[in-house]
Amino acid sequence: MRKTIAILLLVIVALGIRLSLAKIPFGTPKTKVGRYYIEKGIEETGAVNIVTSVVVNYRGFDTLGEVTVLFIAAIGLGAVLTASSRGETRKTQPASLVLYTGCRLLFPLILIFGSYIFIHGHLTPGGGFQGGAIVASAFVLIYLGCREKRISEKLSNTLESLGGLIFVVVGLIGLAVGGYFLLNFLPKGQSYLLLSAGIIPVIYIAIGFKVGSELAGIIDKLIEQSK
């Protein structure tokens, strides 16, 4: 009964989608604003990666909101999980020597790769969100391989707050200097170089630290709960 109703509902939804999608052809240019960003992006922001210039510059305020959503989700997870009593802790079996050594070897390399991704966000595919996710994956590896090691909660909280603070402060400096929030007040420099695009690398590095420490903190709390 339940399944029949569900399938019936899905068929209706699918028909509705079918009707609305018939008017949206695949593979044709659709928005003028996207075209504008591609044509004027380098000139206006100095970033070679147009996606980055949209995320951090044109829609920087939107990104600040999205970072806040991430922050609230992490806070909510912490509030839900730490409210419980931490009673008996199950003893974890230590990982095998191969896994342990491999994790310790790979951990710094993954951190360096993640930092590379978020520092070069305005030049190559990548950026703060992706780099942060890679950094967090390094911590997953550490939790799998070296089970008794923990990252200090204070450090991750500090990095997270610092990242958010840098984002907002850079935005406010723009407000003070030029009259609107997240104004690109630093010199844009020459495109295709690492030190270019004004505030974009600064903000993306801040986002990278924030996302990395947030996701690592989430993993830390979930693992603590499962012990």
């Binding site: 999980l81 419980s84 709960q225």
Partner: protein, 119 residues
Amino acid sequence: MSFLENYAFYIGAFGLILLGLYIVLVKRNLIKVIIGLAILDTGVNLFLICVGYIAKGTAPIFSASVKSAQQMVDPVPQALVLTAIVIGVAVLALALSLAIKLYQHYGTLNLRKIREQKW
């Protein structure tokens, strides 16, 4: 055949969305419902990327070899999805943490049984 060629990506994306919706509607295990939500999320992200695609387009990144602005795909949906993926992960973790709490409280993940019990 041309229908398939033109709409294969849309069909795939909405296939994922409908699959996720079906799981959310029908399954009783809370973990499976959360997995359904994750699949739905992936479908929505894929659909947004598909809308921004331009036939034979390249990634919207200028480099030494790609200097012309012609034939670049729309950067706006990509920028949206970029943040949506990370937020999806965080929301998934939040949902899982709530599932952990529910299991600790009721001793079951079956939604029917949880609904029957007293709070």
